[in-house]
């Protein structure tokens, strides 16, 4: 008799397994007609929130002058020691010099091998010179390429989807031409 009851138990178990598996499958099948969750990114635009902390850009004012006054505050606030600056003085009048102030950053580098995108530099900057952009495409072939220089960071501004240069800034934007990011800001 015990063999028989064993067989009955096993059969019950098989039925139970089949029933619960079918129940699971019904969930899977019910998902098939729903909307796709993935985005084929480089072809389609991705949606990114405004606060997203991506690769930085260095800002210029409405006359196309660099806002950075080389105060080193961003470098001091950085927990990862990612920012390297060399300051210099430029005594020429406003129209001729590149910065909005006499003092400007001769060298401004961010090492994206170190940067952790915490945004503390942005909070610290007294002139709103450094900002977070929305770029997240960073792949490079050598570690050295991860160190971005001032020209690159200035150019990053024109990649932002909602930035359009005014006439004073047009030459800057043209000189530093880079493709717009394929993103939608939300």
């Amino acid at each position: 008799m015990s063999i028989l009851s064993n067989i009955i138990d096993a059969a019950k178990e098989v039925v139970e397994v089949a029933r619960t598996t079918a129940q699971g499958m019904s969930v899977t099948l019910s998902h098939i007609p729903t909307r796709k969750e993935t985005v084929s990114y480089p072809e389609e635009a991705v949606t990114i929130y405004r606060r997203f902390r991506g690769e930085h850009f260095l800002d210029v004012n409405e006359d196309g002058k660099e806002k950075c006054v080389s105060c080193f505050l961003c470098a001091a606030a950085c927990p990862a020691d990612a920012i390297y600056i060399e300051g210099a003085e430029d005594q020429r009048p406003y129209e001729e010099r590149i910065g909005q102030d006499h003092r400007y950053a001769k060298v401004y580098q961010i090492d994206y091998g170190r940067c952790i995108l915490c945004g503390f530099c942005v909070d610290a900057c007294p002139t709103d010179a450094i900002n977070h952009g929305h770029n997240f495409e960073w792949a490079v072939f050598t570690p050295g390429e991860m160190v971005k220089d001032k020209d690159f960071l200035l150019a990053n501004k024109w990649r932002e989807p909602d930035v359009t240069p005014n006439e004073n800034q047009l030459h800057l934007a043209a000189r530093q031409k880079m493709d717009k990011l394929n993103i939608i800001l939300k």
């Binding site: 699971g24 899977t28 606060r51 902390r53 606030a77 503390f120 909070d123 939300k186």
Partner: protein, 411 residues
Amino acid sequence: MQPKEIVVPTSSISMLRRPDPLADTQMTVSLGPQHPSTHGVLRLELVLDGETVVNAIPDIGYLHTGIEKTMEKEKWQQVVTITCRMDYLNSMGNDLGYCLAVEKLMGVEVPKRAQDLRVLLTELNRLSSHLVWFGTHAMDLGAMTAFFYAFTERERILDIFECVSGARLHQSYFIIGGVRWDIPENFPALVRDLLDRFRNFLDECRRLVTGNRIFQRRTKGVGVISKKDAIDWGLSGPTIRGSGVNWDVRKAEPYSGYDTYDFRVPVYHDGDVWSRYLVRMDEMEESVKICYEALDRLKGSGSVMADHPKLNLPERDLMKQHIDVMIHHFLLASEGFTVPIGEVYQSIESARGELGYYVVSDGAERPYRVRVRAPSYVNLSALPAMVEGQLLADVVAVIGSIDIVLGDVDR
């Protein structure tokens, strides 16, 4: 002079029990560090007798980051950028624990709104962490679909984090004294949308995995740890609540106003993988409840930073107009602030268990020492007790059920 004889305590020898050379049925196998089911870089040295596990020795250190040491080098306010990198699945909770500890040391009162926001985000983070656990745990046991659904849902939570803090995983959003910014306009709608879907999602999970007979047979009665052993090993979180111990820091030592929320702590008594599974599934439901409540409290407006001149950077407009405010801004951003001399312990309930911070200040602008009591580390230490005598295939189920994060184990 004769060198002193080194006495090795017998207890540490028994921990390192290697196969008995005379019993040639035993062999040692390495599980990990590159095994996909070890959730990171855990190496287990398994002594097997056939398919049966005789002993398991967790070999940790593959992910050692030196974060605790690095904290001593950072200023008080900069440390939040690395706390979230320890337990990267529960980053909000990690930041919260540190911030609470330092606030306790400084005697800072965090405004109500910031507390509610903190609760909401840590609970969302608990959901996202449990989703990763659910997906990978089910996948380890052969259910691939659950993984995709869980990660789809987690994606939405990470979107919310991106919306409010600007980063998806390492938010550094909580700072000492409050949170960095108030919520953006579209935030409440996003959260409500997620929470409304989430109940439905949990229902699907139940039909997909919980009800599955194969899954139940892989988990029931596997990796049992008794109530007494669980307490003796110092386990915490869902791992100990699966053994019938009602211990939750949110209830036992409430912080951030958790005592004012209405939620239940799910406890199951069998101490096996299945119980731990059920605890986490129920916990997700409770978290959704807390989130709804916290979201309701966030209506209206208010300050999100403590009113303390040394903690918040001055208002930007003021700073640009007045030189004295500018100097204050410079000092605060470059030098930081000091914390009174003292030491403090503050624990929170992270997604994995009791996460404690022991912070020592010597009155400087950097911590003297930050010691972290990581739940994963303690929970992992009980793994040998859970898998002894089990089958090799069950080891994977047990590792999944204690839900360790290796970044949390090795700091």
